[in-house]
């Protein structure tokens, strides 16, 4: 089992529904977020290209955050989901420093927090909150190890890219370009 997400940049309009849905689903305090929207504009008017992306923890295969965690609070669960055990986290910030995506943050209660792929929803057979609300249906979630899953199909059919591949973390969020 290898959970992954694919995001179709041809459809994403950057509405940020994923961001706010994550906040309400996971009770994230105002002023913090586990996911975010970026945009890249290239070219000179009127010869332009715009790419909008919904970003979050990449649940990397090679996880510097888990490696540098001194207590084992950062760990990997079934399906390759990277999680933080709040009771083991001492808030040292090592994992925050390790993440090339800056996907982790220090929760006001002290522990480090991040995207969980909404594992509580996955366990109920639902998609992560961000995927389930996306008005453009630009996000796909599923098991990459299952060749019949929607995500496997779309990732193999379309041209994909990952963010900061040079960081060598083998991210599991794929952008369909």
């Amino acid at each position: 089992m290898r959970y992954a997400m694919a995001i179709d940049t041809k459809k994403c309009v950057g509405c940020s529904d994923c961001v706010v849905a994550c906040q309400t689903e996971n009770n994230i305090p105002i002023g913090y977020s586990r996911d975010w929207i970026t945009e890249t504009v290239e070219g000179i008017y009127p010869g332009l290209h715009l790419e909008i992306r919904s970003e979050r923890c990449n649940h990397c295969e090679n996880t510097p955050c888990v490696r540098t965690c001194p207590t084992g609070a950062s760990h990997i669960i079934e399906g390759g989901i990277v999680k933080v055990n709040h009771e083991e986290c001492i808030g040292c910030g090592a994992c925050i420093q390790s993440c090339p995506y800056d996907a982790r943050y220090s929760h006001p209660e002290g522990y480090v927090d991040k995207c969980t792929f909404c594992d509580h929803r996955i366990n109920n057979g639902q998609d992560p909150a961000c995927v389930s609300v996306c008005p453009t249906h630009c996000m796909y979630f599923g098991d990459l190890d299952d060749p019949n899953s929607e995500i496997s199909k779309i990732v193999s059919a379309r041209k994909v890219k990952v963010l900061a591949p040079e960081a060598g973390t083998k991210p599991q969020i794929f952008y369909l370009v």
Binding site: V13, C15, G43, V133, P135
Partner: protein, 767 residues
């Protein structure tokens, strides 16, 4: 300066509430163990209640989830709902912030004066409603009851409108008409005998070609349309976007036509020219359903792409290619009419051109074009007849805007300022969920109108700027805390949706239906509200259609099958249009009768002077104008607007990213607040762009006060559409001020005193 009767009351707060960013990490040594809450509540204790969203006019139906303590957890779409297809947009998802906003109006307020200083006094509902009924009655006696007007935007307005009609005035208006979609409605009524209303019946999901002209699907988060555009992208449909700005939609398009602003009609005419000349139009459709093709053919004969190139800067081959592309996809092609259409004062004609182009493509009533929506009609309980009115809002503008099908908010505003050629002006306003200072252009004029009022009531959830001018302010509860009228808006299938409270109203706020009922009773109009509680009305209405309140509380949305299979006009089917000729009027006879061009013409519009840039404003997907800019969840996504400036312009003015600038318009109006610059290629050299709804100036809006800049205060040049009174707002030009004008003003004043002659000359030049 004339002292105003009505001072704007700013209830300032001590220090800005340290909400979001001040939350410092808690260095709690102590019971950290106990503090970790299990984020995810137990499913079995979670309750869901149906609602439909009130954050924007799309009114998506969904579910509000609450935990056992009555805390609202989240709001998600209802899978059966055609507006949302089970998915809310960011504003709907963040709707919980509207409920949680601690800046909300909490209790009725009454304006008082002491020692020459005006302030608001907290009052009980009874006291406030007594005062309102007393003042309305007095004004009705002194003038006429018809001089009372209601401005409303939102679901609660219906209740208030009924009370006003029962009281004897029919002047009910919403800025969403003359400031937004009015020209489009009039143009489509003139062409097809039917307006588009909301949600627009565009069959985007099935289209092969979508043409957007100044319409920014994706930045406007018209939920169903955004979803369908995404589906169209998946299906490989061609998108053609006409926009001087590289909008989100433009970035998804096969063709982006960066048109010179204010020249759209020329492009539309050239497209028609190509389609007619190359005989790409739907001949059978034109023959069978339309009127005036020959006149149109003649009219566009010389409107060649080459002609349009000189005007629009769009190359002739691009015009031809795109015309062929849409004709190739026809009838599964949509030239989207857009929604906010009040741009340059000739907007009804521009939208006429859009309507006519669609007719040439044969898209009206066709799959992938415009479908025939259907609405569920609910019965109403028996009430006495409304009194007959001698005057309507039209009398305020004798002989003008005859084609407008709804009251003009701006028109009522104008008719509140006394004038010699008007018998009487409006004397009292009831304003509900409509912040007129920022929704109606030319703020000076609006304030003058307010200052001429005898009485103003504002009903709102938030201390919007308009509340600062009110005599009585009533706190309305949010949509999450109330019942409302059933939603029966038209769609592919007729449907009904229920909104019910998920939680009790916070503070001392009340729903509109309750306010309206109390007011009706105090005015002696109780017979017009024949129910004790709104649930009686809803249950009665639902039982008439074979449902019940109980059922709807469980399902939220009910779709009903269409009576006939008439979603599209079938090939060769007879179809009667509600126009003078019974046909689609390419040549608008109604316009001809009123003395307007029956076929759209291009007219040139003013262009910015050197050093000035066209003020272009728009939408952000996470906000509904000013309505949401104080919502904690949505402010978290975007807390200020930025001014888009082309890099070349930035270089010329030596501007850098995030530098704060003030704007001054062609009439010398300077923005109250500065705005941060965003240097981006997404905007051309001749315009600047910002998102509407920011730059709030009421300090009670703690989160949004002074954040960003309000475009509406710079819109002083209003180009009124002669056909229907729409207020064209895109003919304003601005220049940058890089130093705080408040500091400069001190210097200026001193200078003015010395050489007042000189500065007057400078002012003239700018004007």
């Amino acid at each position: 300066m004339k002292t105003t009767r009505r001072d704007f009351i700013k209830i300032s707060s001590m220090g800005v509430g340290g909400l979001a960013l001040s939350a410092s990490p808690v260095l709690g040594w102590v019971p950290g163990f106990l503090k970790i809450d299990d984020v995810i509540p137990d499913d079995s204790k979670v309750k869901r209640t149906p609602t439909y969203c009130e954050i924007c006019f799309w009114k998506c139906a969904g579910w509000t989830y609450t935990d056992e303590k009555g805390k609202i957890l989240k709001i998600v779409g209802n899978d059966d709902d055609q507006h949302s297809n089970g998915r809310f947009c960011p504003r709907g998802t963040g709707g919980v912030g509207m409920y949680n906003d601690e800046d909300r109006l909490k209790t009725p307020l009454i304006r008082e004066e002491k020692d020459g200083k005006q302030y608001f006094r907290e009052a009980s509902w009874d006291e406030a409603l007594d005062l309102i009924s007393k003042r309305l009655t007095e004004i009705g006696e002194e003038y006429t009851r018809e001089c009372i007007a209601l401005f409303t935007h939102g679901s609660g307005g219906k209740f208030l409108g009924n009370v006003l009609k029962a009281f004897g005035s029919g002047s009910i208006s919403a800025p969403s008409y003359a400031q937004c979609k009015g020209p489009r409605e009039v143009a489509f009524i003139a062409t097809y005998g039917k307006g588009l209303s909301s949600p627009e019946p565009t069959d985007i999901r099935n289209t092969r070609c979508l043409v957007l002209i100044g319409s920014h699907i994706g930045e406007n988060m018209h939920n169903g349309q955004v979803q369908e555009m995404s589906e169209a992208i998946d299906n490989g449909a061609t998108i053609i976007t006409v926009d001087p700005r590289y909008s989100t939609a433009a970035s998804k398009s096969k063709y982006w036509l960066p048109i010179k602003p204010a020249t759209d009609i020329a492009l539309l005419l050239a497209w028609m020219n190509v389609i007619i000349k190359e005989e790409l139009y739907d001949k059978e459709y034109i023959e069978k359903y339309t009127f005036g093709f020959e006149q149109l053919k003649n009219h566009v004969k010389n409107k060649t792409p080459e002609w349009a190139y000189g005007i629009t800067t769009i190359k002739p081959d691009v015009i031809r290619k795109t015309a062929r592309e849409m004709a190739g996809a026809a009838p599964a092609a949509i030239v989207h009419p857009g929604r906010h259409t009040t741009w340059y004062g000739d907007d009804t004609q521009r939208l006429r051109a859009v309507a006519v182009l669609n007719a040439l493509l044969g898209s009206w009533g066709r799959k992938g074009g415009f479908y025939m929506s259907e609405k569920l009609h609910l019965k109403n309980m028996n009430t006495p007849e409304y009194p007959k009115m001698k005057h309507t809002w039209r009398d305020a503008h004798p002989g003008k805007y005859m084609l407008a099908d709804l009251a003009l908010a701006s028109g009522i505003c104008d008719a509140t300022i006394p004038s010699v050629d008007r018998e009487c002006s409006y004397k009292a306003w009831i304003v509900n969920g409509s912040n007129l200072l920022t929704t109606i252009p030319n703020r000076k004029n609006t304030i003058e109108a307010i200052n001429n009022l005898e009485f103003m009531v504002v009903i709102d959830t938030m201390p919007a700027e308009i509340t600062g001018y009110a005599d009585v302010v009533l706190p309305e509860c949010t949509y999450l805390e109330r019942y409302d009228m059933l939603r029966t808006s038209k769609h592919r299938k007729p449907s009904v949706a229920l909104r019910m409270p998920a939680v009790e109203p916070k503070y001392n706020s009340k729903p509109d239906w309750w306010i309206a009922k109390q007011l009706a009773e105090k005015l002696g109009l109780g017979d017009y509200v024949p129910y004790n509680d709104i649930t009686e009305l809803l249950d009665w209405q639902l039982k008439q259609i074979g449902s019940s309140l109980e059922e709807m509380q469980k399902i939220g949305v009910k779709n009903i099958d269409r009576e006939y299979n008439d979603l599209y006009i079938l090939q060769g089917e007879e179809h009667e249009f509600n126009t003078n000729t019974g046909k689609i009027e390419l040549y608008a006879t109604s316009f001809q009768q009123e003395g307007f061009d029956p076929l759209p013409n291009y007219t040139a519009h003013p262009e910015p002077l050197p050093g000035f840039y066209r003020l272009n404003y728009g939408r952000a997907p996470m906000h509904t104008f000013g309505r949401t800019t104080n919502n904690p969840n949505l402010t978290d996504l975007m807390d200020e607007n930025k001014l888009w400036v082309n890099p070349k312009v930035a270089k010329e003015w030596d501007l850098s990213n995030n530098q704060e600038v003030w704007l001054e318009n062609q009439d010398g109006v300077v923005s109250t607040f500065p705005i941060k610059v965003r240097i981006t290629e997404r905007i051309g050299k001749h315009s600047v762009y910002l998102v509407h709804g920011f730059g709030r100036f009421d300090k009670r809006l703690k989160r949004s006060y002074g954040k960003g800049l309000d475009d509406s205060e710079l819109i002083t040049n209003v180009m009124v559409d002669p056909i229907m009174g729409g207020t064209g707002m895109r003919g304003n030009f601005v220049t940058f001020i890089t130093e705080d004008p408040k500091l400069k003003l001190v210097g200026n004043k001193a200078r003015k005193r010395n050489k007042s002659g000189n500065s007057a000359k400078i002012n003239n030049k700018q004007a």
